[in-house]
């Protein structure tokens, strides 16, 4: 019942908000709702014993299509729930600095997204997962279509179609797998026991993987990402980059690894090299960006490449590192984007060339930016350091050159971040007007996020313990199948 509440709290709040007049009070209500969800997830976390798998809600929805309403979670799901629940109050909070039309509608759409994301991470049935996975696109579609920036009409549709291409391939793959079960079922527990022939797995891998490769996105399925991230309203980009792309990672763990292990082994090197190449390539492009928001988009692309490579290393270090980094990345993206928004609010631009020398005017914001950046370039004692170090280790066990490429992306990352900071904040002050330095709202937003990165960078055990059990279990079944 608790899990059902997790779905319903944001959903019902969103419905209520849609029915009300467009007022700013909507933000407060939405914030309360996300805090309530956070409370529920923290409660789940508190009572969770590492290594267990909990299935609580079970209902035969459409048994003859293999669709059952089964909700549950293991350590990995819980990590994803935690990530969603932690990040969403901040995403709603970011609305306080934005002057958007129809705040109640924006917040309703954001809460719908949160509800569907919880659904994705709670679903223990492939079909149910798919339904939530696709549904989460619908509110985001409207968020981008109504509150996006330039060229939003074209970019939104391209984003929608691109993502659905993957989604439909996943549906096909799912239908294929379901047809192999008797009696028909698409419960993860049943799908994981499928032993498909090797040559089937080799092509089925792409049917299942494509959706997630596009969602993340990894090279060469990324072309929708920079435009969409840049055009989307700030909160939309936070949702996309902070939480939605984690569905890709989670999907790979739930669908690809257990169902087509031989396919994973067959394509592993290809995927890792594609991801690493994409990570380097995006890093180099990020270096050349003039627009800070676009730079964040490319940097996210670069980080995600590394995430995927680490995951496909398919060993303890790689997978735990990837999952750990997923959490770090969510917090990083949200805080980076918040700074982009804060700078834009003050200077009226997000062009790096036009900024310059803001440190003198905005010392406190510059300091906060610096702390966020420290996490972005993965200095030791930050959360990203832990994740990237683990992934680096995982790749090293597999192949030295891969580890080398991974390190190269980290170096490139440091270069473009520092360069961006330099261009935005340092240099001669050329701003004649007065600007308000970081105020109460900015501190309320950024300080907790920075605190999380530092605390978990110093003491990563709570998160690593959470995922360790399921990762070991996954690896033992994987190695048994090779």
């Amino acid at each position: 019942m608790v899990l059902l509440a997790l779905l319903l709290i944001p959903f019902l709040t969103a419905l209520a908000l849609m029915a009300t007049r467009p007022t700013n009070a909507a933000r407060g209500i939405a914030l309360l709702s996300t805090l309530a969800s956070l409370g529920v997830v923290l409660m789940l976390w508190y009572s969770f014993v590492p290594g267990q798998t909990i299935t609580s809600v079970q209902y035969d929805w459409v048994p003859w299509l293999g669709l059952r309403f089964v909700l549950g979670y293991d350590g990995i799901s819980l990590l994803m729930l935690l990530l969603t629940a932690v990040v969403f109050p901040f995403i709603i909070g970011a609305g306080y600095t934005q002057k958007l039309q129809h705040p109640s509608m924006v917040n309703a759409l954001l809460l719908f997204t949160q509800s569907f994301l919880f659904g994705v991470f709670l679903a223990q049935n492939g079909f149910l997962f798919y339904i939530f996975y696709e549904l989460s696109l619908v509110p985001v579609f409207f968020l981008l279509l109504y509150w996006g920036g330039e060229h939003r009409r074209a970019i939104t549709v391209r984003f929608f179609i691109y993502t659905l291409l993957g989604g439909l391939m996943l549906l096909f793959g799912l239908a294929y797998c379901v047809m192999q079960t008797a009696p028909i079922s698409s419960d993860f527990a049943v799908l994981q026991t499928l032993r498909l022939p090797a040559n089937t797995q080799i092509w089925l891998f792409w049917a299942l993987f494509l959706a997630f490769a596009i969602k993340l996105p990894i090279f060469p399925f990324h072309s929708w990402q920079p435009d969409t991230y840049t055009m989307a309203p700030l909160q939309g980009t936070m949702v996309l980059g902070g939480v939605m792309l984690k569905m890709g990672l989670y999907g790979i763990i739930k669908f690809v690894f257990p169902i087509v292990p031989i396919g994973v082994e067959y394509w592993r090197d290809t995927v890792i090299w594609l991801s690493l190449f994409g990570a380097l390539y995006a890093g180099i492009i990020a270096f050349r960006q003039q627009d800070l928001k676009r730079l964040v988009a490319y940097s996210s692309l670069s980080h995600v490449g590394l995430l995927c490579a680490g995951l496909f290393a398919a060993n303890t270090y790689g997978i735990s590192g990837s999952l750990y980094q997923a959490f770090a990345h969510a917090i990083l993206v949200v805080s980076m984007l918040y700074i982009v928004g804060a700078l834009k609010e003050r200077t009226g631009t997000s062009e790096l060339g036009a900024m310059g020398g803001l440190k003198g005017k905005l010392p406190r914001l510059a300091a906060l930016f610096f702390l966020v950046m420290v996490n972005a370039i993965a200095l030791p004692l930050t959360q990203s350091f832990v994740g990237e170090w683990l992934m680096f280790n995982g790749l090293w066990q597999l192949n030295g050159w891969m580890a080398f490429a991974a390190v190269a992306t980290i170096i490139v990352g440091a270069v473009y971040m520092l360069y961006a900071y330099q261009r935005a904040m340092l240099g001669p002050d050329r701003w004649k007007m007065d600007m308000a330095d970081a105020g109460r709202n900015d501190h309320l937003f950024l300080v907790p996020l920075i605190a999380i990165t530092l605390v978990l960078g110093f003491y990563p055990a709570p998160i690593l313990d959470l995922v360790n059990g399921p990762v070991q279990q996954m690896l033992s079944t994987l190695t048994a199948l090779y």
Partner: protein, 454 residues
């Protein structure tokens, strides 16, 4: 059976009402009659009843299809009350012709004799030829009617030839006898193959499968919107039910299966790709209807245990979404002074949020996005196709479904884009009811997808 008789009488009664000028009573009487027919059909739910010794058989499949068609016709009649209010003459004939057409549709879902199939198709089609030309003073309407008639007769000729050839091989029109003959080896007979091939052509024409689809965009565009809605829904449902009965009885000889496979692929391709280029909403719906025929053909091709249920579910939910959209089109068209371009939907959300929301649901259902019935329908088709081993066709259909999503999303985008001048939509309570019913049922059937036929 009694429903069949009731509807034929109902049509005549409506004609009499027309004679005495009770225009206001037409639709209510029609609807009451249809509800009665619905009840009568439903009472025939249990085992298959043969009628006219062995000419028609009302089994579960036909009862379901009949009920679905009656429900859709009732919705269209509800829509008609407002639609025909501005029309002075011949309203009774329109209602009566639709009822007659529905009677033909009943035969198509329940025949066990090829003669009945032929009768069904003709009773279904002839009223449609007239209905398509319903706007007498419109050139486009007359053109549509004439085109439909000419091409329709052409298809009928093929169809009759096919029946004759099958008779030549098996010496019977009765599907049970034919089935028995086929079991003893007649199925490899070239004449039989040719015959079933011709029958398939005639049916493909009715469902607008490529390459027999050329009539549909022009006829859809030219015919009065209400008639277009009827053609896209009831007629398509009946034709697919008829098609399936034929395939179910004769089986699918490899040669015919291969032909169907090619037609399925072409239908999916042409329907979806050409729809991308349409700027007129009715033409878009015509190509979308062709595209959906492709998915339905795939279900027929798979010819599995679940095929009848899939066909029923798919056609019914498709019909609900389509009727709703045509009502919305009519409203938007009035606000835009008769313009039928997709751009007339712009500003719909500002004008009437609920209407825009339901329009979105209906379009998402046609596109096949989760938690709408269209999604479950497509999923069933994919499962059927994969189960029957058509893996590559299924992948192709998936890609085509994506193309489909694109043009539906374009319409949704229009509806949710603010217009420079927000259109003023006048929604009569009945139209609101029809649209809302369609919207709700499209979601309800996704949440409770019943498995009735199987």
């Amino acid at each position: 059976m009694s429903a069949l008789i009731l509807t034929s009488v109902l049509g005549v009664v409506l004609l009499y009402f027309g004679l005495f000028g009770n225009k206001k009573l037409l639709a209510p009487v029609g609807i009451v009659g249809l509800v009665a027919a619905l009840v009568l059909s439903w009472t025939g739910w249990n085992p298959g009843i043969m009628e006219f010794p062995t000419m028609v058989e009302f089994d579960r499949m036909s009862v379901l299809f009949n009920c679905a068609m009656i429900v859709v016709t009732i919705l269209i009649f509800l829509f008609g009350i407002d639609y025909y209010e501005r029309m002075e003459e011949n309203v009774a004939e329109h209602y009566a012709l639709m009822i007659f057409s529905l009677t033909g549709a009943f035969l198509l879902t329940s025949y066990t004799n090829l003669l009945m199939l032929f009768l069904g198709i003709e009773i279904l089609s002839i009223p449609l030829y007239i209905l398509a030309g319903g706007k007498k003073r419109s050139y486009r309407s007359s053109e549509a009617s004439f085109k439909y008639f000419l091409l329709g007769s052409f298809a009928t000729a093929f169809f009759l030839m096919g029946i004759a050839l099958i008779y030549g091989v098996t010496a019977s029109f009765d599907l049970h006898v034919i089935q028995a003959k086929l079991a003893t080896g007649a199925s490899s007979n070239v004449l039989f193959l040719l015959g079933s091939f011709f029958v398939a052509i005639g049916l493909s024409f009715k469902v607008a499968a490529v390459p027999f689809h050329f009539w549909s965009p022009d006829v859809y565009e030219g015919a009065p919107t209400l008639v277009t809605a009827f053609m896209a829904t009831v007629v398509k449902t009946a034709a697919f039910a008829g098609f399936y009965r034929f395939v179910q009885m004769t089986g699918l000889p490899p040669a015919l299966a291969n032909t169907l496979l090619v037609m399925t692929v072409l239908t999916l391709l042409v329907g979806n790709v050409v729809a991308l280029r349409q700027s007129q909403f009715k033409r878009l719906m015509a190509y979308s209807s062709i595209a959906h025929s492709g998915f339905l053909l795939m279900a027929i091709l798979a010819n599995g245990v679940m095929t009848p249920n899939t066909l029923f579910y798919y056609t019914f939910t498709y019909a609900l979404a389509t009727v709703g959209l045509f009502v919305v089109l009519t409203l938007a068209k009035r606000a835009a002074n008769g313009n039928e371009a997709i751009t007339i939907f712009r500003g719909l959300f500002r004008a009437n949020p609920w209407l825009a929301f339901v329009t979105m649901l209906l379009l998402l259902s046609l596109a096949g996005i989760p938690l709408t019935a269209g999604f479950i329908a497509k999923y069933q088709v994919f499962m059927l196709a994969i189960g029957a081993g058509f893996i590559k066709t299924a992948v192709f259909a998936v890609v085509m479904a994506l193309v489909g999503i694109y043009y539906y999303v374009l319409v949704i985008r229009e509806a949710f884009t603010p217009a420079e001048e927000t259109p003023v939509l006048v929604v009569s309570p009945l139209n609101w009811l029809v649209i809302t019913l369609c919207g709700i049922s499209v979601v309800a059937f996704a949440v409770w997808p019943l498995n009735l036929v199987g």
